[in-house]
């Protein structure tokens, strides 16, 4: 059996299983939606906020399972609620924003942990925390697709305003566009996106999905539109690689997806033309060599 057949079979064999197809669908959709949003997250510097929202949804997810509601409903309420709470405490106290974020999300997460120890055993904490994409139900898939479509539609409609907000909110104000509204919109999109990604990689790793692809793309281009495309492409490739690797090696799917993204980041960090560390090192050496030559 030659290498090519082996490679083809590496993909085709798992695809015979329906659960792999479903996992792939959810991972790719979640990955791409997160990747698109991650471009703004990297530029406004909201990685901590992403971490916060993802942890804060835990009580909502637990409640959803308790009452047999769609998981996204509880998650959205708690995600959005936490963002609002962070905003209020931030404005009405002298505590710095990162501290407020730290307090709110750990408190929410703790509440979730306490609640889960009271819930009938069919909800598995491990699945919520680390994802269980190989076991997603039809209902879960439907929610992921629905929310993903909402996020992509809003982003498609508003992306230029969001970029203007990220770059220069004062200019937005000057031309009569309320930067606070755009900030709220971006936070809302973040909350929904986090919920989309929960199914794929679980609470703990969601933040990776909304940061790494954007940060990687940022190392590779100076143009925002290209950044969006590169970011989405990286997330797509990482989702595919992650799902298949996890199948063959029988290891955590969420872990594999995020690891694949992290590898992409590392490669960009090292080799990106003009930005990469090795590139810069070479330029510096060249400069030193020229100087020495004189």
């Amino acid at each position: 059996m030659d290498a090519l057949t082996a490679l083809v079979e590496w993909f085709t064999v798992p695809m015979q299983f329906e659960f792999v197809q479903r996992a792939l669908l959810v991972s790719v959709v979640a990955g791409v939606v997160c990747a698109v949003l991650s471009c703004w997250m990297t530029l406004v510097g909201w990685s901590l906020m992403g971490d916060a929202v993802s942890h804060a949804v835990l009580p909502g997810v637990v409640l959803s399972y308790m009452f047999g509601m769609p998981f996204a409903l509880g998650a959205l309420i708690f995600g959005g609620g936490s963002v609002a709470l962070i905003g209020v405490v931030n404005r009405t106290s002298r505590v710095k924003e990162d501290a407020v974020i730290g307090v709110v999300f750990t408190a929410m997460f703790a509440l979730g942990l306490v609640m889960i120890s009271r819930v009938p055993s069919q909800t598995d904490l491990g699945h919520i925390l680390f994802g269980n994409v190989l076991g997603v139900s039809d209902g879960d898939i439907l929610q992921v697709l629905l929310l993903a479509a909402v996020v992509l539609a809003v982003v498609w409609y508003k992306h230029r305003d969001l970029t203007m907000y990220a770059f220069d909110p004062v200019h937005a104000h000057a031309i009569g566009v309320n930067p606070r509204l755009l900030e709220t919109l971006l936070l809302g999109l973040l909350s929904v996106t986090v919920v989309v990604a929960l199914q794929a990689v679980g609470i703990i790793l969601v933040v990776a999905m909304v940061i790494i692809p954007g940060a990687t793309a940022y190392l590779l281009t100076d143009r925002f539109e290209r950044m969006l495309m590169i970011s989405a492409a990286i997330a797509f490739a990482a989702a595919v690689t992650g799902v298949f690797t996890s199948f063959h090696l029988n290891v955590s799917t969420g872990g594999c997806i995020v690891l694949a993204q992290a590898i992409a980041f590392t490669l960009a960090y090292l080799f990106s033309p003009g930005q990469g560390v090795l590139w810069k090192g070479r330029t510096a050496r060249a400069v030193r060599a020229t100087r020495a030559g004189h």
């Binding site: 530029l43 409609y157 508003k158 230029r160 305003d161 970029t163 203007m164 990220a166 770059f167 220069d168 004062v170 200019h171 104000h173 000057a174 031309i175 009569g176 566009v177 940022y218 281009t221 100076d222 143009r223 925002f224 290209r226 950044m227």
Partner: protein, 248 residues
């Protein structure tokens, strides 16, 4: 005739700091008004008050007879801040930044039409930035960055332009480019409020000048305001003889 910019009794505090104290200012349409004053005299604060970026404790702002929110929504106000608090590593090109000046003219999706592209190219040409338009915004020198933000204001085609120290840190050539440009804008009927520390330039550029020191100390023709006695009264110092490039 409605004033283009009208500030009535504006008082602004930052905590304990009284930045503006009962400021009255009225600029007629189509005029260039120079805003002069020492560091910390409240020039930037006055711009921000007109824009509604800071809220006045007391007083009222009208732009072309409208409240500032209405005027901003109609795209009547263009603003070039003193120091752009933007991320210079942001992945936008100079052309993209100038295009943001057109957003008020576009639909909700901000999709540029041919007229918008034309306005952007025109603004780039007038600010002498055509050759640099595809550069990332941070890959410009300080003076070129300044010109890029002036270009954005020009592309916006706002009736009232607020320029906070557009000449700070620019060389003679850029300064001449910008001065020409501002005079052309006045010719085209725009109203300009321009703060500057370069007094030598004021008679050439401005129809009138305002001397600010937390409150308005003098408002008149450049000759009246630049009278040594007025300056002496305002700051207790004379403008330097040499080159008249006195910096308060």
């Amino acid at each position: 005739m409605t004033a283009a910019i009208e500030v009535t009794g504006a008082t602004v505090r930052y905590g304990d700091v009284l930045a503006l104290d009962d400021v009255y200012l009225s600029v007629e349409p189509g005029r260039v008004c120079g805003l002069l004053g020492m560091n910390g005299s409240g020039k930037s604060t006055l711009f921000k008050t007109v824009l509604g970026l800071v809220t006045a404790d007391r007083g009222r702002v009208r732009i072309l007879g409208m409240g500032n929110t209405a005027a901003r929504r109609k795209g009547l106000v263009g603003y070039v801040p003193q120091s752009e608090q933007v991320d210079w590593a942001f992945p936008v090109r100079v052309r993209d930044v100038v295009m943001m000046g057109r957003y008020g003219h576009m639909g909700r999706r901000r999709r540029p039409r041919p007229a918008d592209r034309e306005a952007v190219e025109h603004a780039l040409l007038r600010t002498d930035l055509t050759g640099l338009a595809d550069r990332q915004i941070g890959a410009l020198s300080g003076g070129q960055r300044k010109r890029a933000f002036v270009a954005r204001a020009i592309a916006q085609d706002a009736d009232v332009l607020l320029l906070d120290e557009p000449f700070a840190g620019v060389d003679k050539r850029s300064e001449a480019t910008i001065t020409d440009l501002l005079l052309q804008l006045r010719q085209a009927g725009h109203t300009l409020l321009v703060s500057t520390h370069d007094l030598a330039q004021v008679p050439e550029l401005c129809d009138e000048a305002v001397l600010l020191q937390r409150r308005v100390i003098a408002h008149g023709t450049p000759e009246e305001v630049l009278e040594p006695d007025v300056l002496l009264e305002a700051f207790g110092i004379h403008p330097s003889e040499e080159g008249r490039s006195w910096t308060p």
